[in-house]
């Protein structure tokens, strides 16, 4: 063997057959240049392997941002369930709301002590509570 050459990298990567490992070490025992090269390449290999494992930029792959429920099977069900819950909450709110859908700022202030500071130039503010029939349409 003239010099070990690429046998060194193959050895460092565990890719050298046992028979060649013995041959390599016989050579290294008598070749200072290859021994030094082995040390250098081991350091280089470690440096590359020590590069930090980077996080994915947020939003690049939404599937990898969190453990998701399989998209193609259950997402439709979940979206439907969430919509049903929202509709139920709004429906309950509508049931317990007086039939007059418009509430003046004065009434809000007196009922909840809320401070609804709006430009008087636009007249009394109106908060429109959606009716059940509007939501379900």
């Amino acid at each position: 063997m003239t010099h070990a050459g690429e046998l060194i990298s193959a050895y460092l990567d565990g890719e050298l057959p046992r028979s060649e490992v013995e041959q390599l070490f016989r050579h290294l025992s008598s070749c200072g240049r290859c021994s030094a090269e082995m040390q250098d390449l081991q350091a280089v290999r470690s440096a590359v392997r020590s590069l930090p494992l980077l996080e994915l930029p947020p939003g690049l792959i939404p599937e990898a941002d969190a453990e998701l429920i399989p998209l193609h099977r259950n997402r439709g069900f979940l979206v439907g369930a969430a919509a049903a819950v929202v509709a139920l909450v709004i429906a309950v709110a509508a049931i317990f709301t007086p039939s007059t859908a418009a509430i003046s700022v004065e009434e809000l202030n007196s009922r909840y002590g809320a401070r609804a500071s709006l430009d008087p130039a636009f007249g009394p503010a109106k908060v429109v509570v959606p009716q059940l029939t509007d939501v379900l349409e």
């Binding site: 050459g5 690429e6 250098d40 590359v48 994915l56 599937e63 453990e67």
Partner: protein, 167 residues
């Protein structure tokens, strides 16, 4: 090597997304190009899964990834030359604590990253597939479509060039 084939594109994205991004980042040296490459790879995976033949899934995946990278390199070479963006300069350190932490992580291996970018592409991809992605020589040979002996030679020559850059 993982021989079982992920069933869906979403699973490929979830399981391999970060690995692909790290491979892409080390090949390109900046987050924007790496992100573009990841998107392109996942697009190709999505199209290719329908016709995927059972075999070495990772070999197939990394072949797609390096081909997408080489296509991008060829496209850039045809365009008027524009300087590659400097990731460290552009990184918004003040944007968030996580961005700051990520900045530190990048600069930690900055000299090694610069040395990688100086390597010829075929040496760079072989070294990164070996030392960053963690593939065996056989897997790299499948991904790059060259004999194992060529992989061994490229990795060795790549490391020797890295040594020269880093010393």
């Amino acid at each position: 090597m993982t021989e079982s084939v992920p069933l869906t594109w979403e699973e490929v994205a979830r399981v391999y997304g970060r690995k692909i991004y790290n491979f892409a980042y080390r090949l390109t040296g900046n987050s924007d190009d790496a992100s573009d490459l990841v998107q392109e790879v996942l697009l190709r995976v999505r199209k290719g899964l329908a016709s995927y033949q059972p075999g070495s899934f990772e070999g197939w995946l990394w072949r797609i990834t390096r081909n997408a990278f080489l296509d991008d390199v060829r496209r850039r070479n045809r365009r008027p030359t524009a300087p590659l963006p400097d990731e460290v300069d552009r990184w918004d350190r003040a944007s968030s604590p996580s961005a700051d932490a990520e900045y530190s992580r990048i600069t930690l291996g900055d000299d090694v990253q610069k040395a990688l970018l100086e390597l010829p592409v075929e040496f760079r991809e072989a070294v990164i597939l070996c030392d960053v992605v963690g593939l065996s020589y056989e897997e790299i040979a499948q991904a790059v479509a060259v004999p194992v002996g060529t992989v061994r030679s490229r990795i060795h020559r790549g490391r020797k060039l890295l040594r020269e850059s880093l010393t």
